[in-house]
């Protein structure tokens, strides 16, 4: 690939993945995705769209057109804070927030997000904690996020962490429930049994 090809904004037919829209519409809750009328209510309603590479309306258009790489590598899916404003305002009742979750899962599975990208690190660490302890502990979660993504270096962040620690709001204690006790209601069994 030439340097120009790596940096060019123009996409050629051969760059596109024409099955991408099918993959997305097969995601849970992606069923109505293709009925989007591109009205832009979602992008207008989204409080995060000013900070996104592409707003949700463009993400839908790009998905349908096959811009798989651009969609999965965009910061859009990670900036979505799940406030559900787009889904509530969509005249076609597309569950846009849930489609964003689907895209996040795809990006995580295919590993196309930047290395140690904070949101992905947070999601994975959260997942791991709940998987092992049944509950999430904010202190250890925040610590591992800072250590692995390097934001701990920021002095103001560290100072705040210390204040919160002194207030007893973040501790190093891990919250947990019994896992794998083989009695009624065992969470470990439930999570193992889900397909």
């Amino acid at each position: 690939m030439t340097e120009w090809e790596q940096t060019r904004k123009v996409r050629y037919e051969k760059d596109l993945d024409h099955n991408f829209y099918k993959e997305v519409s097969e995601l849970a809750w992606g069923e109505k995705f293709l009925t989007c009328i591109q009205c832009g209510n979602c992008s207008g309603a989204c409080p995060l769209s000013p900070y996104m590479d592409y707003g949700p309306r463009r993400i839908i258009a790009m998905t349908r057109a096959g811009f798989k790489n651009d969609v999965l590598k965009s910061n859009t899916i990670w900036l979505c804070a799940s406030c559900y404003k787009c889904a509530v305002d969509c005249p076609k009742e597309i569950k846009i927030t849930d489609v964003m979750y689907g895209l996040k899962q795809m990006a995580l599975q295919q590993g196309v997000h930047p290395r140690n990208f904070p949101t992905a690190v947070l999601a994975n660490e959260f997942f791991r904690q709940v998987q092992t302890h049944g509950r999430q502990s904010e202190g250890p979660l925040i610590m591992s996020l800072y250590v692995r993504t390097g934001i701990f270096g920021a002095f103001s962040q560290a100072a705040m962490g210390i204040r919160l620690f002194l207030q007893g709001r973040i501790g190093l204690k891990t919250e947990s429930i019994p896992m794998g006790h083989n009695k009624k209601g065992d969470l470990k069994k439930v999570l193992e049994a889900i397909e």
Binding site: L48, S82, F127, R135, Q167, E175, K184, G185, V190
Partner: protein, 292 residues
């Protein structure tokens, strides 16, 4: 009937002042509750990003545990009280999507069966705001008032996940349940159109510049509207709005100091509960903000 109290992880961590103020308020208003035993994390937004099937199973286990426990009365559905916005949404979302999607329901039921649990779909998930306004009632709250929040200007902040997309107890664009409670307790409620605009949730931790900016927009407008204090009903909103004010002040060269309390802390003060029993030692806001 006893409400089945589901605190969620945050109320045992950064949001402990929420639990520490909610419980005495429930006691003062004689609302019976009991904590759900061995509850697990609701999954929040992070878990959903990794594995959707597991996220629903996670939420459904709590619903099944609540059903197993029952409401103690015939014809009354087991009612979960979820004060955290993310838990409220996560549990309601699982309930709704399982009722709309038989395949998902079957999948989750099968997984629950492995742990000898059954999910019938009876359990109801409600927010304390809903319970205060619709079960306890404004009249009873008013009757229990000991020290009115006179002269305090409050900006009630609902955030996203309490009202969107599943809440039926209030309006999605202009919710008023917290306004009603605070007004009844003597506070002046400022008109603040950003009350359902997102605080960014965990973005303050992952994409800090953006997350802090969103919260600055909220606080700046609350200040412009003359608020003395912002009242929240979600642990993450409270954390975001309160803890990044130093950063905002230096980034945007605008010294901003806006107290941010849980609505239950303000209720507690009005109900005459001593401030040191309302979790004020676990937040930056001081009770004096609402004491005349």
């Amino acid at each position: 009937m006893k409400y089945i109290y589901y605190p969620g992880c945050s109320l045992r961590g950064t949001g402990r002042a929420y639990e520490e103020s909610l419980l005495p308020v429930l006691k003062a208003l004689e609302v019976p509750y009991e904590e759900l035993e061995e509850w697990n994390c609701c999954g929040a937004t992070a878990y959903m990003s990794v594995d959707e099937g597991k996220a629903f199973a996670l939420a459904a286990r709590n619903l099944a545990l609540a059903e197993d426990r029952g409401s103690g009365e015939e014809k009354v559905p087991p009612t979960i009280m979820a004060p955290c916005a993310a838990c409220y949404l996560g549990l309601n979302k699982a309930k709704r999507y399982m009722s709309e999607n038989p395949q998902l329901l079957q999948k989750v039921r099968k997984a629950l069966a492995a742990a000898d649990l059954k999910y019938k779909g009876e359990a109801v998930v409600r927010h304390p705001l809903d319970i205060f306004v619709n079960d306890v009632g404004i009249d009873r709250i008013k009757a229990a008032m000991k020290k009115p929040l006179a002269g305090v200007k409050v900006a009630p902040y609902y955030g996203c996940q309490i009202v969107r997309p599943f809440a039926e107890f209030d309006d999605q664009e202009n919710p008023v349940s917290m306004d009603k409670i605070l007004k009844a307790l003597g506070a002046e409620v400022v008109d603040w159109p950003l009350k359902v605009r997102c605080c960014g949730g965990s973005l303050t931790g992952t994409m800090n510049e953006v997350g802090v900016r969103l919260n600055y927009i909220l606080l700046r407008e609350a200040r412009r509207r003359g608020a003395d204090v912002v009242a929240t009903a979600c642990p993450l909103c409270q954390f975001n709005l309160e803890c990044y004010q130093d950063k905002m002040s230096s980034w945007y060269e605008d010294p901003i100091r806006m107290p941010v309390a849980y609505f239950t802390q303000l209720m507690g003060l009005a109900l005459g509960i001593p401030p040191n029993e309302l979790g004020f030692n676990h937040v930056f806001v001081k009770p004096e903000v609402a004491l005349a």
